[in-house]
């Protein structure tokens, strides 16, 4: 009896996920269709699963170069974000004074600012810094990384902050009495306990940064520096979109993130059980 119920639940869950996923089917099948086929039916399977649009897309996008740029920007940005924002969040959460509260509230308030309203002053500032001081923030990957850290700091601190609040204080206090420095306490005891939320923060930031178009399009000029989304958008004309190439490019774009997500999610799931309740 119970087994049957479980099975039906399994199937139900699978069907639901499948239904949920179905629009992605549209991306996939249309990456194999000519404009003619696409017009005739958006939903039907393509006449053939040839890879010609994929190879054309890869070539036009200069895929491998763009891929390496995207990887570099994403990995370095996320590493910095995780390190810096977990430290900041821990201090803000634990010190409990009014300055911390003000900083924390300011940070989350800035998450409400639409990017469009700060992009012009930001670009003036960034090029100003580049020209006046020689620190190359504009038109470099490091500059983009620097900006990514700034933009995603608030979200990450917010996520860490919420999680840290739920960790029992007693664990830290014991370690502090042992005479470990704050630095030691944080990296040896706190940070490992944060694994699930670190995985969450990393996943969300990887996706945001990997898919980001607006910021790189404003800050990067050289063709060699283009990230994947910048290259994909070459298929989007003013009125016409080369759907087959765009869909193929898009599929190429999301595959790495899907793989990353599948690898990372097990850390979310293992979770706090291992970290805290030793």
């Amino acid at each position: 009896m119970g087994a049957i119920r479980n099975w039906s639940k399994e199937i139900l869950l699978f069907l639901m996920a499948l239904l949920f996923l179905s629009p992605i089917y549209i991306i996939f099948v249309n990456s194999f269709k000519t404009r003619q086929e696409l017009y005739e039916n958006t939903l039907a399977l393509p006449e053939q699963f040839g890879l010609q649009f994929y190879s054309a897309a890869m070539e036009q996008m200069d895929f491998f170069n763009a891929f390496i740029n995207s990887m570099y920007v994403t990995i370095v940005s996320v590493a910095f974000i995780v390190v810096l924002s977990s430290m900041t969040a821990w201090m803000l959460a634990r010190s409990g004074n009014w300055i911390s509260n003000v900083i924390f509230m300011t940070m989350i308030a800035t998450m409400l600012i639409p990017f469009q309203t700060i992009m012009m002053p930001l670009m003036q500032l960034v090029t100003g810094i580049t020209q006046d001081t020689g620190i190359p923030l504009y038109n470099t990957l490091s500059g983009l990384i620097f900006m990514n850290i700034g933009f995603h700091a608030a979200l990450s601190v917010f996520l860490y902050h919420g999680f840290i609040k739920s960790i029992p204080l007693s664990l830290e206090e014991a370690a502090t009495i042992d005479g470990a420095s704050k630095f030691g306490v944080f990296w040896r005891i706190i940070f490992p306990m944060l694994t699930p939320i670190t995985a969450t923060v990393a996943i969300l930031n990887v996706i945001l940064i990997w898919n980001d178009f607006l910021l790189p399009s404003l800050t990067l000029i050289d063709k060699d520096l283009r990230t994947i989304p910048l290259s994909v958008f070459y298929f989007f004309g003013e009125f016409t979109i080369e759907w087959n190439l765009a869909m193929a490019g898009l599929t190429l774009t999301i595959i790495p993130v899907v793989i990353f997500y599948m690898l990372a999610q097990k850390y979310i799931i293992k979770g706090i059980g291992e970290g805290a309740v030793k």
């Binding site: 869950l13 629009p23 409400l112 469009q116 002053p121 700091a153 999680f163 609040k165």
Partner: protein, 291 residues
Amino acid sequence: MANRKKIGWYLLFTVPLLIIFTIIVVIPFVIGIYYAFFDWDGIGANPMVFTGLENFRILLEDERFLSSTWLTVLFTVLSVVSVNIAGLAFALLVTSKLKMANLARTMLFMPYLIGGLILGYIWQFVFLDVFTLIGEVTGLESVFFNWLNNEQFALFALVFVFTWQMAGYVMIVYIAGIQGIPGELIEAAKIDGAGSWQRFLRITVPLLMPAFTISLFLTLSYGFKIYDVNLSLTGGGPANATELFAMNIYNEIFGYGNYGYGQAKAIVFFIIIAAITLTQVYLTKKREVEM
């Protein structure tokens, strides 16, 4: 002495991030506020005329702005509810002991992996082709038609697509929260004879309060700021029925070339939203259970 050391650690931990954050976010925002007091088209070489509070005054008479504000609020409220219900439901399902849970977790999260711009285009196909097809086949044409051309339904279409995109996102926040609930508590409640619904209400929900705080805030802020899906799915149409706030500012600044006025709108809206969301955070935080 000890105090000074404490301050030292405090600075070491927080200052690096705060400096970057200040340069990239705070300072540009403040410069933006400064522009709100000028009549300026955003072209550096063209004259900037100081007009004081004039921009803020016209804003109260700008009907397109006011209706866009109302639409944004409506959109956000609907979205926050639907995204969080869907996200929490997904999270509960995929953390159960089902074999499909792992696979489902990935599949449910997939929509978020696609940028909002593309997503809007894809859903245009769905509303245009799939919805009309379903309508014809089932005869339910009053429900399944191209929502995007109907002034009321276009907004629902936006909520629908936004939910589809974001449910997987808040799902992973809820998963982290659910995983954080000590198994012993649930076991203990079981032994005490609590039913599954009771366990959910009495144990899961209170302990999920931090996750609620985060998820509600995230959906609120994303909802208020939504731009890309709005642009690619409806473009603000039909007849401005879905011109949400970010798009309204964007059109003001880059469409009409009223940079200063656009900034003034942005600031007013920011203040309203900040007030609402910070209240939300404060309220839900208060209900969090300290462990």
